[in-house]
Symmetry: C2
Subunit: 148 residues, 2 copies
DNA sequence: AACAATTAGATTGTGCACAATTGAATTTAG
DNA sequence: CTAAATTCAATTGTGCACAATCTAATTGTT
């Protein structure tokens, strides 16, 4: 019985881990067209919503730290999509802002969610239900880890 | 309207991506005790089930390719948990086998799934329901990508 | 004012992921 | 039987993730 506990197909964690990677692979061809990686796309999503954001804020929205974000943001800067500048008010803070080119890319990215929904063959209501399930699990896991 | 489609909080993909990483972080302290990373743990799960497996077979079970597996398996070999050997029958194939030490590690790993279930605060029936949901989504995504 | 504690971001180092290419072994077709 | 196609693993190169450490700026305490 304790043997059975270790079977791969019983692992919820594996299903989610593999699922996440499969979804990223579905995105790739669409993101290639706009020249972004998947994590870069997530950063751009936040910036398209908020125009500019601190590294700290991006980290809180995406659950990423500066070790991941700093090099990623430097690459987005190299691509000409964002600018990075120390805040005048607080020299510790780095503010990331959309360049004109970065803002313009939004138009080309707009079709991506719809195309992916089509690719996935999910009904909108099932999509929403799954999103709810994952978000509730996500918040639960995150809260769990904070209060450990 | 097309603006709303690009909001981060509407993204199923992000919920899954973040969820997967949070779960891995819950595992880390438990896996540290047995000296494995999360992907190494997944490889060991397959080997504890099957005693030995080809690189190709491991890749099929875990949805990973040789570019990921080869260096990972070399590290497991360095740790003394597995051995790697070309097949006599077909020199292209590399067979990965548990060493005695690798097989013995199973005893120490047995408690991990239960500890994680406790950490997660999920009821067993909810755990099973979620696993079903995510597996069905996983297979759907994978199949989608194969028949694109 | 002075100094300890905290905070924000950068840096370093390890280990995945994965696309693309390579090379050797095997299978298939002509 | 042999040449082309396929298969399996390794290699190369890029880009995350993340722990740990570091530096500089700010805040809190006395």
């Amino acid at each position: 019985m304790s043997d059975d506990q270790l079977r791969l197909d019983q692992m919820l964690c594996f299903a989610i881990y593999a699922c996440s990677r499969e979804i990223t692979k579905l995105y790739r061809p669409l993101l290639d067209e706009v020249g972004l990686t998947y994590p870069q796309y997530l950063v751009m999503l936040v910036l398209w919503e908020e125009r500019s954001a601190t590294v700290k804020h991006l980290g809180e929205r995406l659950y990423l730290d500066s070790g991941t974000l700093t090099p990623l943001l430097k690459r987005l800067e190299q691509s000409g999509l964002v600018s990075r500048a120390r805040s005048r008010d607080d020299e510790r803070v780095v503010v990331i802002s959309l360049t004109e080119q970065g803002a313009a890319l939004k138009q080309r990215a707009n079709k991506i969610p719809h195309e992916l929904l089509c690719k996935s063959n999910l009904q909108p209501e099932e999509f929403l239900r799954l999103k709810g399930e994952f978000e509730s699990l996500l918040h639960r896991m995150h809260h769990m880890r904070q209060t450990d």
